[in-house]
């Protein structure tokens, strides 16, 4: 694709998507960590947008930087050793990185809420479930305890917890994993956030409970019109819930597309490899096509394209220059960071 073409492509895309103001935008965000082995570039130049009411699926393997990008939005990256090296995070057009800590508290848990993979470690074991659901509305909405308790019972009802009037006084350890995740969602939803960040919300759950939780998030999203940033390693979960997908590898977004386009035809060699690794798409008895090697350490990313050492079509160009994310066609949403898109078609 020529430079002119590329520029034109991005312009048209901006025209299309620019019509709607994104709720959240990451621009070239880099979150690094100082470690004994040097600087770990966990997130290294990541850009993505989430529009109102949309679900963006962020997929990638452990160490790809997907969780760190979310923690950066919530300002939950432990510092030191973590720090934002460059880039910006914009929420409703406002730069989150330039807001002082005290003011950010009115956003975290209120306008942007987050749920985590392991609800048992995210919930406080010495407080009742009710206390924890009440905390956010007392803090952000100034409700008194009685009103907050009523609100908590309403929230527990909303997330499908049976007999919420008694459950409100129980402790997290008295609940099953699925119920705890419902409580986490009740806490996250209690202030009607504009954006819910869900970091592997169903990974620790049974497939039946996973289906219930994903349906619940979808239902609440439709009622409230909120946006969801869904972080997962499970492509199937993304296929079920998201409108757009960003595939991350080694601290970078390597491909971004609508869920239909990505699943119909992934274009980056890494995305292609991920899909090939899925047992549910493979014929029984046929060998799975695994991606050789493993994700490089964040302190020792290879030069040029970071997927190069595991890529079967890599050339000298891939070692010397880093491929930028470019639109596949003028005005298209689908962007890929690969020097050899034509060759990748043959994979």
């Amino acid at each position: 694709m020529s430079e002119a073409n590329k520029a034109q492509g991005e312009e048209t895309r901006d025209q299309i998507e620019g019509a709607r103001e994104p709720l959240l935008e990451l621009r070239d965000l880099a979150t690094w960590f100082r470690t004994d082995e040097g600087i770990a570039k966990a997130v290294d130049g990541v850009s993505y947008k989430i529009h109102p009411g949309e679900t963006l699926g962020l997929v990638g393997e452990s160490g790809s930087g997907k969780s760190v990008s979310a923690l950066s939005i919530m300002r939950l990256v432990p510092s030191p050793p973590g720090f934002v090296e460059r880039g910006g995070i914009f929420f409703k057009g406002e730069s989150l990185l330039s807001i002082p800590d005290e003011d950010f508290r009115s956003i975290r848990g209120n306008e942007i809420a987050m749920i985590f993979q392991e609800p048992m470690t995210a919930l406080n074991p010495v407080y009742t479930v009710g206390d924890q659901v009440m905390e956010a509305v007392i803090l952000h909405r100034g409700l008194d305890r009685a009103a907050a308790r009523e609100h908590a019972i309403q929230m527990l009802t909303k997330v499908g917890i049976p007999s919420p009037e008694t459950r409100v006084d129980t402790y997290p350890h008295e609940m099953s994993g699925g119920m705890r995740q419902r409580v986490m969602i009740a806490i996250a939803m209690s202030c009607d956030p504009a954006l819910l960040i869900a970091d592997e919300p169903t990974t620790a759950l049974d497939v039946t409970i996973q289906a219930q939780i994903l349906d619940l998030i979808l239902e609440l999203q439709q009622q409230a019109g909120m946006s969801v940033l869904l972080i997962t390693h499970d492509l199937a979960v993304v296929a079920e819930t998201a409108q757009h997908v960003a595939v991350m590898y080694a601290g970078k977004v390597v491909e971004y597309a609508s869920v239909e386009d990505l699943f119909a035809q992934p274009r980056h060699p890494y995305s292609i490899g991920l899909f090939r690794s899925l047992p549910d798409l493979a014929k029984q008895g046929k060998r799975l096509t695994a991606i050789p090697g493993m994700v490089p350490s964040a302190t020792r990313f290879p030069s040029g394209c970071r997927f190069r050492p595991r890529c079967s079509i890599a050339t000298d160009l891939c070692a010397s220059s880093e491929p930028p994310l470019v639109s596949l066609e003028a005005g298209g949403v689908h962007t890929v960071a690969c020097h050899h898109l034509e060759e990748a078609r043959g994979l």
Binding site: E61, L274, P279, A282
Partner: protein, 344 residues
């Protein structure tokens, strides 16, 4: 289902499990009086063929892990028989009846790999020593040959032999699972129980480990019992599948029968809950309300009736017997039709 009372039959299964039960006492009070039983595994029957893979699937708390551990006598069984016939020409031995010394002699045949290899490897032991340990305990090789054997095993599972001097924390999750496999492989097992062995791995690494397990099966004729909740992996790897619910098998059959033609309402709901890696197939789910009930007070009759959309009065009072649906395919449900007519 094959009802072979096997002696001198080359097709005899490697393992035949009959009426396997494992109850845990519920104790209460000052004198730890036994006030009840948790019927974690309540009467399992299945067979496992030579060089085949059988999967036990179900939600957490269904008893699949307890079943695997009881089979290997890592937990003391409450009742049942596990007929093991390493040699198809000889009569099988009941693992549960073996005295401790003979059971110990049989241990090399029967291995297990766990979900979290980090928790199952000693952090202070080099992986070389961890793999060498079973070889030395069972006196399979002499101390002088051990290093060569460990190097060979590491190579076989796709690790460089020089990693033998490293400690578990220096490895990634996928590499640690390879170490776990090398360790299980060291004694030349006939059966490996894989308890969520690939569940914690990233998808690209998971594919590498699944391929390795399959290669080892082809090479050494190992049988696997795969305990897993990821049904897409199960579908891919299994010859046969048994679906468990609250300690009992509700449906069993070949992988094809279970996945393409599930009959039990629980199997159908479970399968429909799997997300598809295909956005055009969104949301075709059979709703299943609630969660698996407590095994201390399982529901009367069919255990599944509290969550079953089709439950009738009979389901609340009477446990359904297994109905044969076709070659090797059976389901325990009052509402499924015996396949007698179809088969004839």
């Amino acid at each position: 289902m094959s009802d072979l009372v096997n002696s001198g039959n080359a097709n005899a299964p490697l393992l035949e499990v009959r009426g396997l039960k494992k109850y845990f006492p519920v104790r209460k009070g000052l004198f730890s009086r036994v006030v009840g039983q948790v019927k974690a595994v309540d009467g399992l029957d299945f067979t496992l063929g030579r060089g085949e893979t059988m999967s036990l699937v179900g939600e957490s708390g269904c008893g699949k892990t307890t079943a695997g551990r009881t089979l290997l006598r890592l937990l003391a069984p409450t009742a049942g028989q596990v007929l093991y016939s390493p040699n198809p020409e000889a009569a099988p031995t009941d693992i549960f009846k073996l005295p401790a010394a003979e059971m110990r002699a049989l241990r090399p045949d029967l291995q297990i790999i766990f979900q979290d290899p980090y928790a199952s490897l000693n952090p202070r032991m080099t992986v070389g020593n961890a793999i060498a340990e079973p070889l030395l305990v069972h006196k399979v090789v002499s101390a002088s040959e051990v290093e060569d054997r460990v190097a060979g095993l590491l190579e076989r599972v796709g690790l460089r032999p020089d990693v033998a001097n490293r400690f578990p924390h220096e490895f990634s999750g996928g590499q640690r699972q390879r170490v776990g496999i090398a360790r299980a492989l060291a004694l030349g097992p006939k059966l490996i129980i894989c308890d969520e062995a690939v569940s914690a791995l990233d998808v690209s690494i998971q594919a590498q480990v699944i391929n390795l397990l399959k290669d080892l099966q082809d090479e050494f004729g190992i049988s696997y019992i795969f305990i897993a909740h990821d049904l897409s992996v199960v579908r891919y790897i299994s010859d046969s599948v048994a679906v468990m619910y609250l300690g009992r098998i509700v449906e069993s059959g070949t992988a094809q029968q279970i996945f393409d033609d599930p009959q039990h309402p629980y199997t159908r709901a479970l399968l429909s809950a799997i997300p598809h890696a295909d956005p055009s197939k969104r949301g075709e789910r059979i709703p299943m309300t609630g969660e698996i009930p407590s095994p201390i007070h399982p529901p009367s009759g069919c255990h599944f009736h509290t969550r079953c959309a089709l439950a009738e009065d009979r389901c609340r009072s009477e446990w359904p017997a297994s109905v044969a649906l076709g070659a090797g395919h059976q389901a325990a449900c009052h509402l499924v039709q015996s396949a007698g007519t179809e088969e004839a």
